[in-house]
Symmetry: C2
Subunit: 218 residues, 2 copies
DNA sequence: AAATAATTCAAATGTATATTTGAATTATTC
DNA sequence: GAATAATTCAAATATACATTTGAATTATTT
């Protein structure tokens, strides 16, 4: 009989796994080394032994989480690159939302925290991970905008899409963490909201191609 | 000669002013009483004397900031309530963005922090301040959606709009605080982005009224 | 102006938590 | 299997803060 052996991972790995989850839940400041070690069933000194200090553990934990997320959710959403632009955009939005909705993906939770309370990690994340994805999505948006593809239209449309996605991330996180005395967003259905964002955004982009009908005015 | 007398405000007021600014900048945890007192030119013990403890100062500072914000930016954006729905929506979006862009308005910065790292303050803010505004904006969206005004369409459209606005708040805050080695959003023009959000969102809402053309598909 | 209350102040105390230490244990190499 | 390196451990140390204290000062009342 082949022994499957679900062996207990080594201390370093347990720390990374636990830390990424806890940092995602409570942020850098509010997560204590003592808590991480307790949940990871490791000694209090193991963080300093394996990672030098808390800040470095935070950095490594984020990278660790990022690798897992990316493997589980390819950024193009599985849409081939010769597909029409609207499908490619939809694929990317679905991938983004998939990562946000995946409870094992701590990518966005950590970024969300970072954006509210930046550490030295944020600039690295932005440059190395966020910016490339941003450029790729903006290229698609540019295609969709056609002759209306001014730099500003492209950037703002991108911001509109990302903003909608991040908002879901925040809602989800808030509901999960804070013990709210009521339910704010009655429906927190990731799939339905994802399709809404796609439809809403494609219409928004399409409208930018029109010669500018009265907006805000009648 | 009438003496204008720009007198130094009393300790309590100086603490509230300084605290609301600092909490907005760095959040509850990362702001120390010592820092607040130094900047407010008050003694270290004055917080405990005037506000019992740090948490209560935080609460009072938020209320203080909220009052100022609301006075400076009426929520309806000055649009009369008998104006057409798209204008009323535009008014509310402009008011929202106005508050976000106003450097003396610490309302959103604090909420932003709260959403990432909730304290006991968050539930109160949501119930008392956010929810009423949310209901008002959703009523307008409902009008605009007409026969397509399902509960889900209304909620999701609202989320789309708020998400876009909050995203600007985050961008602005990130650029202001973190020392980024580059400029992410090339244009951080609040007015231009506001008009973009209005146009983008009205088109998104209008699209929901259509029988459902292929979205994401061709 | 004396008496009383409110406020400010510098220093002390308490607490939470990151980090270090050196011995004990386990794994790896020769 | 002895020697060496890697890892774990409980306890000690260090640091950053919030909070308290009681005296000193200022403002208010009578």
């Amino acid at each position: 009989m082949s022994t499957p052996k679900p062996r207990r991972p080594d201390t370093r790995t347990r720390l990374l796994t636990t830390a990424s989850r806890m940092f995602a839940e409570k942020g850098f400041q509010e997560t204590t080394i003592a808590d991480i070690c307790k949940q990871a069933e490791a000694n209090i000194a193991s963080v300093n032994y394996h990672f030098r200090d808390k800040e470095n553990l935070y950095l490594q934990a984020w990278r660790f989480a990022f690798q897992l997320d990316l493997a589980a959710h390819p950024v193009d959403g599985g849409v081939p690159c010769d597909a029409p632009a609207n499908q490619r955009l939809a694929g990317r939005i679905r991938s983004l939302m998939g990562r946000i909705d995946d409870d094992n993906s701590h990518f966005f939770a950590i970024i969300n925290k970072e954006m509210a309370q930046p550490t030295q990690l944020l600039p690295e994340i932005l440059v190395k991970e966020i910016n490339p994805q941003r450029q790729a999505m903006m290229a698609i948006i540019k295609e969709l905008l056609g002759s209306a593809a001014s730099e500003q239209n492209v950037q703002y449309s991108h911001a509109s899409i990302i903003g909608q996605c991040f908002h879901f991330a925040r809602m989800k996180h808030m509901l999960a963490n804070s013990q709210l005395p009521f339910e704010l967003p009655d429906e927190l259905d990731a799939t339905a909201y994802t399709e809404h964002v796609i439809r809403f955004s494609l219409a928004g982009i399409a409208a930018l191609r029109q010669p500018m009908s009265g907006n805000g005015e009648i």
